[in-house]
């Protein structure tokens, strides 16, 4: 009886799955078009899955192995099952036992995996969603067990007609459950949807550059994508779910609700109304239409009230995401709470791009509705009118360096290093860092110059606040300025400028002014100088030190090593925080978060300073003006906050104490050289 029943069941399940897949694909295709190479993407899928995705999942060995066993077992079992039971190859004399044996092995592996899944679900951590996800281990077991049992006769361990028809019926019922969850549910919207959507998301990912290729490389693509402002009909940001590109929607649908993003999100930890996982699920609700009542994870926190009740928010693919009045899919504060620290993106095993989505939605709020909260409109107006967020006179950008006699690139035309000051030039605290950096560059006899008053804000804050128009205006003018001069590289002590100049200007360069620059963070450059023997340090005499990785240096630009190398060169032993490197916790200063200032239960910098305290460090080294400002703003902090440049400048042994390396050319003689 099973022989007749099994092919019918399997074929039916597959047919239903195909219908479901078609429906699901139709849902995704509501999004805006996005050109992706279909076949190349599909061809790259195995590598992306096995290498890149596994690189993320592999950070947790237990889960990784569990997933390998379960998913690997399932894929193998499913294919073999179709061959053996669906197409009836199991009855062939030659193939039957071999395939059957393999199928047994696969389903057994899957069963073992599902035992681990079940174990994890017994006392699940808060970040995991419950609801349908709680039945998943049972469904996995049902599938693997039933497939195992029905395959036993195939390999001849049991006689073909073993057991009664009752047993066969029970077995088929269990198999139907298993098939329902694993095959039908995959495309109709059960927990297994992640496998289907996730695989396609990997294939058609919006940032193909994120993935490695056979030739290595890749792995980092963090710059936001520019809006086309020349086309007046192109939408400005995302108003409704259908305004996302279709592969973004596909990405949201791939979410496994593992909650790793929630666990690392600084805004969530601070009790601000943002939970990245919930946000992505809200988008999924919007994609299919309905309300978030079925969501079974932790909600968005809401300012100390313990969470926003689930079920109030609702929407559809063509309805607004943020309502003008009342509620829609998400509240505006949710979007503005994000610090764009990318911790969620870094952690996401499904490679979902949360920050892109959030900035897309912010763009609509800013560019179309003019609803950037709190001080943000003022900051944006300042950027438009004065080219800096503080509204300072553009001509006063160099006031801090009046006594330093910094060489201007306008006088020299050509230098090795262009020192990009950033808006920290207006901030009294950051001016100390800049002075230290200038001292270091001079000690190393670097041929450098600054743009002086020609420099403008890089546009970072404007872009994160969704004001793409102001960003592009600033960027294009900066690019035009940079195109006038010749330099080898740009060095900056502001990772935000670093990121924008290095990763985001490229898209905006015109034919006459290609905007590809070799940008370096000052820690990278100092490390290079040290390695080249151009700097010498006196030994470190201070106390315990820890290092805080700025998001825009670490996660955005992959620079974790150079600052540590510099500290090592200074002879400073590091006491690493529990969350450091790619898991570094944000200081709360990115993405315009200090400007939009969404209230929470705690402050993000306070939490970070607590991390510092746990290491017992008396000093925390940083490499970003935002981090410095945020961490220094902590009340009753236990550690001093110093920029790496300041530490280096303090320890530096001035070149006069060392043998000189040839005459240093003064700015004056330099100009003559250029002129002649």
């Amino acid at each position: 009886m099973l022989e007749t029943l099994l092919p019918i069941l399997i074929i039916t399940a597959l047919a239903l799955a195909v219908i479901g897949a078609w429906r699901r694909i139709r849902l995704w295709r509501q999004g805006r078009p996005s050109a992706v190479p279909l076949f190349k993407g599909l061809a790259a899928l195995p590598r992306r899955y096995l290498v890149d995705l596994h690189h993320v999942v592999g950070r947790d060995k237990v889960i990784s192995n569990t997933h390998v066993a379960t998913a690997g077992g399932f894929v193998a079992a499913a294919v073999l099952m179709i061959l053996v039971h669906g197409l009836g190859l199991g009855s062939s004399e030659r193939m039957g036992p071999v395939l059957g044996g393999l199928l047994l092995l696969a389903s057994a592996t899957m069963f073992v995996g599902s035992l681990f899944v079940a174990k994890r679900r017994r006392n699940p951590p808060a970040r995991l969603s419950r609801g349908p996800w709680m039945r998943l281990p049972k469904s996995l077991m049902a599938f693997s067990l039933s497939v195992f049992l029905i395959t036993l006769p195939t390999v001849g361990v049991l006689p073909q007609d073993a057991g009664s028809w009752v047993l066969a019926l029970i077995l088929s019922a269990v198999l139907v459950w298993g098939l329902g969850e694993m095959v039908f549910g995959m495309t109709w919207g059960g927990p297994m949807k992640h496998a289907f959507a996730g695989a396609l998301h990997l294939a058609f990912h919006r940032r193909a550059e994120r993935f490695s290729t056979k030739h290595g490389g890749g792995g980092r693509s963090t710059g936001l994508k520019a809006l086309d402002l020349d086309d007046e009909r192109a939408p400005l940001g995302v108003e409704k779910p259908a305004d996302f590109t279709w592969n973004q929607l596909l990405g949201f649908d791939a979410c496994v609700q593992c909650g790793r993003c929630e666990a690392v999100c600084p805004a969530f930890a601070a009790g601000q109304p943002l939970n990245p996982k919930k946000l992505i699920q809200d988008m999924v609700v919007g994609l299919a239409g309905g309300s978030d009542a079925k969501y079974a994870g932790s909600p968005h926190p809401s300012q100390g009230l313990g969470g926003k009740p689930v079920g109030e928010h609702h929407g559809g693919p063509h309805g607004p995401i943020v309502a003008r009045e009342g509620t829609a899919l998400v509240d505006a504060e949710t979007l503005w709470a994000c610090t764009t620290c990318r911790a969620c993106v870094e952690e996401c095993p499904m490679m979902i791009e949360h920050v892109d989505a959030i900035v897309d939605m912010r763009r609509f709020l800013t560019l179309e509705r003019g609803e950037t909260p709190n001080k943000a409109p003022e900051v944006l107006d300042n950027l438009i009118a004065t080219d800096n967020p503080g509204g300072f006179a553009p001509g006063s950008r160099m006031n801090w360096a009046a006594d330093l006699n910094l060489p201007l690139i306008a006088d020299l035309q050509q230098v090795d290093v262009l020192l990009w000051l950033g808006d920290g030039a207006f901030d009294m605290r950051n001016q100390r860092t800049l002075r230290a950096l200038v001292k270091v560059l001079r000690a190393a006899e670097v041929d450098f110059a600054v743009l002086g008053n020609e420099e403008r804000d890089s546009g970072d804050v404007a872009r994160r606040l969704g004001d793409e128009a102001t960003f592009q205006s600033l960027a294009k003018r900066n690019i035009a300025t940079l195109a006038k001069y010749r330099f080898q590289q740009i060095v900056t002590c502001d990772p935000h400028s670093f990121h924008v100049l290095g990763n985001e200007y490229g898209e905006l360069g015109g034919p006459g002014a290609p905007a590809r620059y070799d940008v370096r963070h000052h820690s990278t450059y100092i490390a290079e100088l040290y390695d080249a023997g151009r700097l010498a340090f006196s030994p470190w005499k201070g106390g315990r030190v820890t290092y805080h990785d700025p998001c825009y240096l670490g996660r955005y630009n992959g620079e974790y090593e150079a600052p540590r190398r510099v500290l090592e060169a200074l002879g400073i032993p590091l006491n690493e925080m529990e969350r450091s490197g790619f898991r570094s916790r944000c200081c709360g200063g990115g993405g315009g978060a200090p400007i939009t200032d969404i209230p929470g239960e705690r402050r993000i910098p306070d939490m970070r300073m607590n991390d510092v305290k746990e290491t017992g460090a008396e000093l925390v080294a940083v490499g970003c003006p935002q981090c410095t400002a945020m961490l220094e703003g902590v009340v009753d902090k236990t550690a001093e906050v110093r920029d790496i440049a300041e530490l280096v400048a303090d320890a530096i042994v001035m070149p006069s104490a060392r043998p000189r390396r040839g005459e240093r050319c003064s700015p004056g003689s330099r100009t003559e050289e250029v002129v002649s």
Partner: protein, 428 residues
């Protein structure tokens, strides 16, 4: 009091003789003649100030005579003789009986008194009036409503037209305009000067100019004589939101900024009352003043506030703080920490990331003075700090700093203010 000084040779002789038993009383009597001064100085018969060198000084603790020349010690400060020397008014008294022309000034009289701006404007009016000493003009002040100012003459006013009727009280631009039009008809002043102050002359002056069909000059801050100009003067005025200086001939109606001229202080004028011959026609009013609305000082926008009481991390007694703000009539501000900790609303935050304030007095309680906060109070005139830590940055910035417990000092300040107010009420 008679202006004539009569000599009494005998008394003078006694005053010169220190050993005479009546010496002290003679000295005191002589001093009285000189306008009520102390015995050490008196005005001699020929108008020369006479001094008694022996009357100066006091006996120090060791029995040695000490002379304090700092001026703190009034001469002849024998106990019982504590009479203050009334400075003789040396200002020239000027009376212009037959003016060649009139310069009409409409002072704001904020709170019933001449404001600094009004006095500057009157100084400007005097320059216009006194330009030709042969044919001086008279300054006519048109005063609306009740006022408490007694020194109109000293501010340089020759004629006062007081329009005290109830209709001019409050915001009554239409009635006032009708009155000024009547003045124009009857007295035809050569110049009309008004202070360019919002809600005062700025409004009325523009209305008047339009009614008279004149194109006025606004924001005048300087005038100079110019024979080619129709009225003999050129002026410099601010334009384009303080970005431009416009130089043009002075028109009949001018609205001047504060400090446009030095206030009058060397002459006294008659401030003769004047009245209009015909009654002012009653204007139909389409604007009705319903009176002032009670505004809670705490609710005033920080950027607008004149006096801010700002709380920081050092404030523990929040009830006391709010009470102090109410009693002092101050607008409440806060440092970022106080806002983050939830004690104050976000819109109360002062600093680079909050509101940039421009208060006249900024009273910082328990604020250590982060750079961002100090940036936000750059525009404040006087900064007062109360803090426990004498080394904090706020103390360095403050014009007056008191080291001590914030709650106690605030409570003492509140008590002081309440006591003073109570005292005033009793006196009144």
């Amino acid at each position: 009091m008679s202006e004539m000084c009569r000599r009494d040779p005998r008394r003078e002789w006694i005053a010169r003789n220190r050993l005479h038993p009546e010496h002290a009383s003679a000295l005191a009597a002589l001093g009285n003649i000189g306008g009520g001064g102390a015995a050490s100085e008196w005005l001699g018969p020929s108008g020369v100030l006479r001094r008694n060198p022996h009357g100066v000084g006091f006996i120090g603790p060791n029995g040695v005579k000490r002379i304090d020349r700092s001026g703190a010690q009034q001469g002849g400060s024998a106990p019982g003789h504590g009479r203050q020397a009334v400075q003789q008014d040396r200002r020239r008294h000027v009376e212009i009986s037959d003016p060649a022309f009139l310069v009409a000034v409409v002072p704001d009289l904020t709170g019933g008194r001449l404001s600094g701006h009004d006095k500057d404007l009157l100084g400007l009016a005097r320059r216009l009036a006194d330009d030709d000493p042969e044919r001086p003009g008279a300054v006519l002040a048109v005063v609306f409503g009740e006022h408490k100012e007694e020194r109109l003459g000293e501010a340089g006013i020759d004629r006062v037209l007081h329009l005290g009727a109830e209709t001019y009280a409050g915001f009554a631009p239409e009635a006032r305009l009708a009155a000024l039009t009547a003045v124009e008809r009857e007295l035809a002043p050569r110049h009309w000067l008004l202070p360019d102050s919002p809600l005062g002359g700025a409004d009325l002056g523009r209305r008047l100019a339009q009614r008279l069909g004149e194109r006025p000059v606004t924001g005048v801050w300087q005038i100079e004589a110019d024979v080619e100009a129709p009225l003999g003067w050129r002026c410099t005025a601010r334009g384009a939101a303080e970005r431009l200086d416009i130089r043009r001939p002075l028109p009949r109606v001018a609205l001047a900024l504060a400090e446009c001229a030095e206030p009058v202080d060397e002459t006294r004028h008659a401030a003769e009352p004047l009245s209009l011959g015909a009654a002012v026609p009653i204007a139909l009013s389409r604007i009705e003043d319903l009176g002032q609305v009670a505004v809670d000082p705490a609710g005033v926008a920080l950027a607008e506030a004149e006096f801010i009481l700002s709380a920081g991390n050092g404030v523990k007694d929040w009830e006391g703080f709010h009470h102090a703000a109410r009693v002092l009539g101050a607008t409440e501000g806060a440092s970022r920490v106080a806002v983050d900790d939830g004690f104050m609303a976000r819109d109360r935050q002062v600093g680079a990331s909050g509101t940039w304030v421009t208060a006249r007095v900024y009273l910082a309680v328990g604020i250590s003075g982060a750079i961002q906060h100090l940036q936000g109070i750059q525009g404040c005139d006087r900064v007062v700090a109360i803090n426990l830590d004498p080394g904090c940055d706020m103390i360095k910035r403050a014009d007056l700093a008191v080291i001590g417990d914030a709650a106690e000092i605030l409570a003492a300040l509140v008590a002081k203010v309440e006591q003073q107010r109570g005292g005033q009420r009793d006196a009144a």
